[in-house]
């Protein structure tokens, strides 16, 4: 949101609801802005903001991560709760008629916050497919708020929703708990500033930490905390369970009164359901998983990394663009140093932009396309189920499939999506594995390109080292880090056919994000190399590093440049190695060792910054230290083994 938009938006609107009910699609439709949408619960890990005009008024619209209740467990759920505690002016609760009871359970809880709201039952098309209908008028009367049905993907019902927003009201439900609970709520409400009244039930459920309340600008006396503890002790069962069960009970009554499902309704899209089941079961699930990976490989590594890169790099850049640019620059720029800066060995055009657009762009584009299709189809949660047992070995559970797979695309995005994991231990462990053993798509592409013409043994060694690292590091990490493994529990969304429009939109957003991050860093990298080279420092650094690079790893001294670039971006470094190899400067052994070193080596700067933001300085430094030490040790060992194995 630009500052100008911010001043225009006077009132705040928050979209809240269960995961995977279409909040983000609705957000996109309302604001005309794009946020990532996928068929995976918990895709929205950050709060996104946009602007929408409703009637004559301009609203700041907030898309929040999905929640089942205000009892927050993970970071993203806490983010949503904090957002609601800042008391927005309007809440649009998004739910699904398919699970009306769960939606209403949340409605009853949101009602306690006393914020005007609208209930939007989205995915009407899916409900209709299953013969489900809801008596909106009755529901609206009982709850005292407008109830609207929409299909956000086709924009059906959106005008109604906008009109209804003007009639938003505080829900008028009361007395749904056992009477002693109501007595307790009343008792504490008397003691507390009227402004804080809506948080009394949350306090009683013991699910607000002191610092969270302080962050929302609410201050409670210490004495009140003690009294809360006393009150909770009087009950045999945890109060949170008493509250939740009472709300669910009431929600079920309301659902029974308003929801109708046609008996023997022929469900359309039955084949999707069958396909979904197949993907979940070991047979043929694992076969499908292998086939999906093979397709991914064919599309990204063969089509993207070989065919498209060859065409763009050799033909487009090599034969037309770069020669033209070089001639143009030589003609237009009289100074030799500037010519060098633009088109020399470390030139902005010849190195930075060629690497970014010719070498990496086709690869990440194909990867993002494949990933978008996978995400939207609902296949990934099914893969989580299949791979849960494997992830157990490395101290994680199936939920980690999402960040890890995303990590094969871009480690920075993957680092961000660690938020969907439940415990701190899992987040740290996943961040560590992402930094150490998961190559990103650009890196992967260079690896595949470098090994393309070589003996398959090279690729096999590289793969074996990485797989052993992933297993070993995960296993040891899970033992070293404190905390128990968290139980695996995941909703499986229905399979859906990916919408072309959504895929294109998602790929272009991610590509935009990628280029914005990559191009400046690549230019910076080539400038640094150019400066170091010009000042003669590059030779000095190469001398310093040569004990490690030349003696321990057995690589040519120029590989230092590649590793320097690798600090900026891993793929940039990998591309530097690629260049060395093509100039015939790497033997088979050196290729193998350098590939392993570059993959294990530090993550790129962007991923490091994201780690710093998400995990904090201490953890990031610890991860960085372990990763560098391990990368050097293992690559050195590999070099030694290969050398003694008779590899030249």
């Amino acid at each position: 949101m630009t500052p100008k938009e911010k001043t225009l938006a006077r009132r705040k609107l928050v979209l809240v609801g269960q995961p995977n009910v279409g909040k983000s699609v609705l957000f996109n439709a309302l604001t005309g802005r794009y946020v990532a949408v996928s068929n995976y619960p918990g895709t929205t890990v950050e709060i996104s903001r946009g602007i929408a005009k409703i009637g004559a008024e301009t609203f700041e619209v907030v898309d929040s991560p999905g929640i089942h209740s205000l009892i927050a467990q993970s970071d993203e759920e806490r983010a949503t709760r904090s957002c609601l505690l800042t008391r927005p002016d309007l809440v649009i609760q998004v739910g699904s008629a398919m699970r009306l009871d769960l939606a209403l359970m949340l409605t009853l809880e949101l009602a306690e916050l006393e914020i005007p709201m609208v209930l939007c039952l989205n995915m009407k098309d899916e409900a209709a497919n299953h013969g489900v209908s809801v008596d909106k008028a009755y529901l609206s009367k009982v709850l005292g708020i407008p109830v609207i049905e929409t299909t956000a993907t086709t924009q059906e019902g959106l005008p109604d929703l906008l009109k209804a927003a003007a009639r938003a009201a505080v829900p008028s439900v009361s007395r749904i708990y056992p009477s002693e609970i109501h007595t307790l709520i009343a008792e504490f409400t008397k003691e507390i500033t009227p402004l804080y009244k809506p948080i009394v039930p949350l306090l009683l459920q013991n699910h607000l930490q002191a610092h969270e309340i302080a962050a929302a600008g609410i201050h409670l006396q210490a004495e009140l905390w003690d009294r809360l503890k006393e009150a909770q002790k009087k009950f045999v069962r945890p109060l949170s369970r008493v509250f939740m069960e009472a709300r669910l009970e009431q929600a079920k009554v309301l659902t029974g009164e308003t929801r109708r499902q046609e008996m023997n309704h022929a469900v359309r899209g039955k084949w999707l359901e069958t396909a979904g089941q197949w993907c979940l079961r070991p047979w043929p699930g694992f076969l499908i998983a292998v086939a999906a990976l093979w397709l991914l490989y064919e599309f990204v590594a063969v089509f993207g990394a070989q065919l498209a890169v060859n065409f763009i790099e050799h033909t487009l850049f090599g034969q037309y663009l770069n020669p033209a640019l070089i001639r143009g620059v030589q003609w237009a720029v009289p100074w030799h140093w500037l010519q060098d800066l633009l088109i020399g060995q470390y030139g902005i055009f010849t190195m930075a932009l060629t690497y970014a657009f010719a070498l990496l762009f086709p690869i990440v584009t194909t990867f993002f396309m494949a990933m978008s299709v996978l995400e939207d189809s609902g296949y990934l949660p099914r893969l989580s189920v299949l791979l849960n047992r494997f992830f157990r070995i490395i101290g994680l559970n199936g939920k980690a499939v999402f960040p890890i797979i995303l990590g094969f695309g871009c480690g920075t995005m993957a680092m961000l999506s660690c938020r969907i994991l439940d415990t701190k231990k899992e987040k740290i462990l996943t961040s560590f594995l992402l930094a150490l053993a998961i190559p990103c798509s650009a890196q992967l592409a260079v690896v595949l390109a470098m090994t393309a013409g070589l003996s398959p043994v090279v690729l096999f060694i590289w793969f074996a080292v990485l797989a052993a690292t992933l297993l070993g590091a995960g296993y040891i990490g899970s033992k070293v880090l404190p905390g128990a493994p968290s139980p695996f529990f995941l909703e499986i969304p229905p399979m859906r056919v990916p919408q072309m429009k959504n895929v294109v939109q998602k790929v272009s957003t991610r590509l935009g994000w990628y280029l914005k991050e990559v191009v400046p860093l690549f230019i910076l990298g080539s400038l640094i190399l150019f400066a170091l080279d010009g000042l003669g420092w590059l030779q000095v650094m190469e001398r310093w590093c040569s004990p490690v690079i030349v003696h321990l790893l057995g690589l040519p001294v120029r590989a230092t440049e590649a590793f320097l670039l690798g600090f900026l971006r891993r793929d940039y470094g990998a591309a530097g190695l690629y260049q060395l190899q093509r100039e015939g400067l790497l033997t088979l052994r050196q290729t193998t060792v350098s590939l392993v070193a570059m993959t294990l080596f530090m993550p790129c700067m962007a991923q490091g910054l994201m780690a710093l933001k998400e995990r904090g300085l201490k953890v990031t430094l610890a991860i960085g230290f372990v990763v560098v030490a391990y990368a050097v040790a293992v690559s050195g060992l590999l070099n030694w083994v290969l050398l003694h194995g008779g590899w030249a």
């Binding site: 009871d101 769960l102 945890p238 079961r281």
Partner: protein, 236 residues
């Protein structure tokens, strides 16, 4: 609406006298179990906790016999004592395992509950708990008819969700007690007592279908959900 006096007439609570008698018989059982069966010693202990002359009273009513200055139960006495002790200890387990009452409240509540538990309810509790054999204090729970029957059946009627097979239908009986975060997730996703579910696969993870939604979980999660298997599988 029925007034409380009507209910009292229809379903009378045990009188104070009957309660005392049951209480005393249970005490004798406890003492004998602990190995105190000398008449004088026993008389002192029982009379001190109930009223003077209680042991003599029980004796006179034919619940107890003398044997070389040691006290033993008559047949009728043993039947009554065993029944009340069983109800008390089952009540303790119910309070501890399912209702998670704090420890200091278990005994006092069990003492009152035991008198109002009818034989049918006693069996239901025993079955719900899976025919437990010891009470929370470590003493044995006398076995009932339902326990004997359960020996010939393979499984208790209520068991963790991990015990259901592919295609089985079940109804959630209760969630394991506690305040763990994943339990809140269960409740907020509708996995609550009474909810009906169907197991669609058990490997590599357990997948259940509930109200048209699919939920996947591992044994770690599923072991906290206790279900009653539905009698007629395969009917949709």
């Amino acid at each position: 609406m029925t007034s409380s006096t009507d209910i009292q007439k229809k379903f009378p609570l045990p009188s104070a006298w009957e309660e005392d008698l049951e209480q005393a018989l249970a005490m004798v059982w406890n003492q004998l179990e602990a190995g105190h069966s000398a008449r004088t010693e026993l008389e002192k202990a029982i009379d001190a906790e109930t009223r003077a002359g209680m042991l003599a009273d029980l004796h006179q009513r034919g619940f107890l016999h003398d044997h070389d200055n040691l006290i033993i139960f008559s047949q009728e006495g043993k039947r009554l004592a065993q029944s009340i002790v069983r109800r008390h200890r089952l009540a303790e387990r119910l309070l501890q395992d399912v209702l998670t009452v704090s420890e200091d409240q278990i005994d006092s509540n069990a003492c009152r509950l035991e008198h109002v538990i009818s034989p049918g309810v006693e069996e239901a509790i025993c079955t719900l708990l899976g025919h437990p054999q010891v009470c929370p204090h470590g003493t044995l729970i006398p076995r009932g008819a339902c326990c004997e029957r359960s020996l010939t059946e393979t499984k208790p009627i209520v068991f963790p969700l991990t015990g259901l097979h592919n295609g089985d239908r079940g109804k959630i009986a209760y969630l394991a007690p506690g305040d763990r975060p994943e339990l809140h997730k269960f409740i907020s996703m509708g996995l609550v007592p009474g909810a009906e579910l169907r197991v669609t696969q058990t490997f590599p993870a357990l997948v259940v279908e509930m109200g048209g939604n699919l939920l996947a979980m591992d044994a770690e999660s599923a072991k906290n959900i206790f279900v009653r298997k539905s009698a007629a599988p395969g009917i949709s």
